[in-house]
Amino acid sequence: MELQPIHPEPTSFIRKWIFSIDHKVIAKQFLWTGLLFLLFGGTLAMLIRWQWAFPGQSVPALGPVFFKDTGGAITPPTYTSIFTMHGLIMIFWAITPILIGAFGNLTIPLMIGARDMAFPKLNMYSYWAFFISAVLVILSFTSQLGAGNAGWTTYPPLSTNVGSPGWGQTFAGLGIFVTGLSSIMGGINYIVTVIRFRAPGMTWFRLPLTVWGLWLTAILNVLFVPVLGSGALLVTLDRLAGTHFFITGGAVGLKGGDPILFQHLFWIFGHPEVYILILPAWGIVGDVLSFFARKPAFWYKGSVFAMIGVTVLSAVVYGHHMYQTGMAPMLGLAFEILTLAISVPAVLLFVNWLNTIWRGSVRKTVPMLFALGMVFVFGAGGLTGLLLGTISTDIYLHDTMYVVGHFHLTMAAASFLASFCGLYFWFPKMFGRETNPLLGKLHFWGSVIFITTTFTGQLLAGYSGQHRRLYDPFQYDYITHLRDINRWTSYSAFMLFIAQIPFVINFFYSVFAGKKTKENPWDVPTLDWVACSSPPVYHNFDVVPTVVRGPHELGNPEVKKALGKDWISQTEEMPGEDLAHAAAAE
């Protein structure tokens, strides 16, 4: 393999841990940064929930520290900043780095049998661009006029100097632009690495579903994040250079620009973005369900084509975010049909998951529990989406808490549970140690129960007509009677936050003092576990493995008879087989 020479391992601290080009170190950098921002974004969510349970009352513990001027209460401008930054941080600085940055970097080379990414230096730049964007978003909080407060969608005129004066929104916009650059650099790497660096015999249909999910995500990232980049750039020009792209004033063509254009740019990106966040989750869950049901993934090719189908369709449905913006009825109908068409591949994928665990020898490990939890919340979230994709029902539900509940179940709950599924699953690979299964199960049950109740509460409040983003919803007569359900939803959200404590204890304890892991603690057949050590050496594989079969060869009775175990690895041959020779000759 001349393409992948073994480079000497760097010895200096800076080259090894800070400006590293090793995909495994970069994965950990993304993981740590992402987890920190997950805590940050989660804390902001707690503040929002406090406001909805007890509007205008002093926030316990945090209030006296952060909101001194008001005696600990959240003011309306602070409140808008909090929900804006909660959305932005969770999407761009928590889920993206964990699900794509960390797992993408860790698993792609290991699972396809590569010694590193195709462009290791670009990979390093990707992380450090992300780091700069993280600094920018934190700088946003230092503005006297408050952090970004135009909503995560940054619609003009809210995001112009009129709607959000000061540098808070400017820094948030620049942060989005820079983090977009980071995503694109990562995406280029993922795409090229999977195309060019697969081990001999690793055909496209022998790739684990995780790699498929991440690869398709990378394609969406590379194609659609630049559209958001353009939008963010033009808003920033409007704010700083005095241009009028999205600022109206007189009829278009005489003086002013058109704020609706930004909505188009935003959702051309924004809709693929929700699949950017869920495709890796689908991939990880698809693999993990198979591994721990000890059965091959049901209709693997069907799942792959379903994911490809969703990827393609996701590019042509963005109009369903703009039903209420005003659009020609024919166009609305087209977007409605395309949107509902996505449920076909999505349901196909879902049925494949259910068939995978059907009558399997399920091992109830922590990653498996999180995968099952993800299947549950994603199913619930997906069903609630049908009412939003249909124009006639969306007219009533638009901009209510129902929308918030829906996208949190799919994007937040499903991505969250899949992130932890992946984290518990690859923890031994990353750190060479095992996590405590008891604490892990505690974390799982707390998370899955309270994540479901929290977002179901939002669905119910929204279905009853509660508008999203209200500072004090109960000053409206028609919402007053929803005070109880809002309080209970908030209690549930607080419990969800508390349920993360076992994870924090487990994570730190296991990183430093967990039990040393076996090479392949889960008995799974993919290259990341069977062809390299845990944690892997610097160049991953002493010899690049030759792949002879698909990723889910589990529970095969013939294998059991010949080898006495219920699985056979992607590199292993059955007695009498000569597949490696054939693969090498390919």
Binding site: V222, T243, G253, E586
Partner: protein, 194 residues
Amino acid sequence: MASVAKLEPRMRENFTQSLGMIVALGSWAMMFGALFFVYAGVRTSARVWPPAGLPALPIALPLVNTLVLALSSVMLWIGTNALIRGNRKVLPRYVALSFGFGTLFLVLQVKVWKDLWLSGLMPSTGIYASVFYGLTVLHAVHVFAGLIVLAVIFARSLKGTYTEHNAIRVRVAGMFWHFVDVVWIFMFVALYLL
């Protein structure tokens, strides 16, 4: 894939590098595509273009400028092809010519901006000026970045860094430069001619 696997290692490395650049340019094209989308949105909803009281954009100088940037692309192309055939000596000359035409493009572009600015067209005068300055400045930023790349290539080519064996490094940079040129042709047609 079987046919690719048979290629010699250098060709495989070349393929990986080119593929990376192609994917990156696809991403860049989407960025510029979004800008053209904004322009199309503005233009199709405008009754009068240019709006009354604002100067029309010149055509002559930008047309010359289009040719200048195209020449710059051609020079780099000739130099790179010579390098691939093993003629290392001519590379610095053609890279220098390419750099020169690229710089001339920026100089003429500044003149176009200055003339319009003096005749009263400023970004704050509205959407007409916003799309014009916004699109051309963002393109010029890419030209500037390309010029820095060309300068580095020129310095290295004088030192004899490039041979027919690693010509891919010049070629990949050239792909970016040609891309910037193609974007300009679209921009010239959209902004100045239509």
